[in-house]
């Protein structure tokens, strides 16, 4: 069985961590009000996007390297838009953006490209 490159492992772990942080923040910032629905929805969206990135960086992932990179950039953009709309805590946003940037860095290695394209379903 082919070994997973270390940078792909790190990228996948960080994607999972980003998803976990988003879910924890969803619980932490929960308010039982109708006006809080948008904020809660943004945390859910970010959790889904980070978990999907983690899924893409595993064996039999759903995306090619190109799509995976595009989705990472879209995730970072979603964090930026959430900050603009004040729907997310600023420190959480900075943490998630840094995680997204490190995932981009891990994907930029040549080994990540060959591995994700070969291991795709």
């Amino acid at each position: 069985m082919e070994t997973v490159p270390r940078n792909v492992k790190i990228g996948g772990a960080l994607g999972f961590l980003g998803g976990i942080i988003s879910v924890v923040c969803l619980a932490f910032f929960f308010r039982p009000e109708e006006t809080a629905l948008v904020d809660m929805g943004v945390y859910m969206l970010l959790a889904a996007m980070f978990f999907s990135l983690a899924g893409g960086l595993t064996r039999g992932g759903q995306w090619s390297w190109n799509i995976l990179l595009l989705m990472t950039f879209l995730t970072i953009s979603a964090i930026g838009c959430a900050v603009v709309f004040s729907a997310i805590d600023l420190y959480v946003a900075i943490t998630l953006a840094v995680i997204g940037a490190v995932i981009v860095a891990s994907l930029s290695m040549p080994s990540a490209r060959t591995w994700t394209d070969r291991m795709r379903v």
Binding site: N66, L69, L70, T72, F73, L74, I76, S77, A78, G80, C81, V84, F85, S86, V104, S108
Partner: protein, 191 residues
Amino acid sequence: MKVQKDHSVAFSWFGIIAVATFIISWICAASIDTAWEFGVNVLSEFGISDTDARFYFNYGCIIAGALVIVFGFGHIATAKNAGHTVGGAFLAAGGIMLLLIGLITMDSHDPHYFVAVSAALFVFCSVVAVAAGNWAAGQKMFAGIGICVSLTVAAMVFVYSVAEIGAYGIILGMIWLLAESVRMIVSGRKN
């Protein structure tokens, strides 16, 4: 190992110097006109300031605009695909409008608003077109910067005031212009 450079490296410096010029003129104008507040007053108010800030801002816009025009035409000259060509054309048009912002100040009302909004729209279209061009040319990391910048600025339109969009949008635009200049330097080097 001898490193050869094509003209894109030379043109990229126009973008870097344009950003540096605009930042310096902004800092000088803000330090002279202390009544101007970030995110409260629009940048164009520097152009009609009672202090010397108006000279720094207006001349800064004219010089930076001229440099962006050259950078835009350089972008067209060294284009790898249609995205780069269209993006360069939009950027040159944005540079013309930036130059006009320095000439047609805010006290002229409608003509100034026309050139200011046109400059913003042309540069935004350039970011989108160049991002598409970079993606098609395989320079996906630089395309990603364009994607993030364009989506964040688009979100700002729905939430922020004109003064805030102007200030934050120009900062993001300058970051993108620097990144695009770096891309041209990187892609211009041949082994």
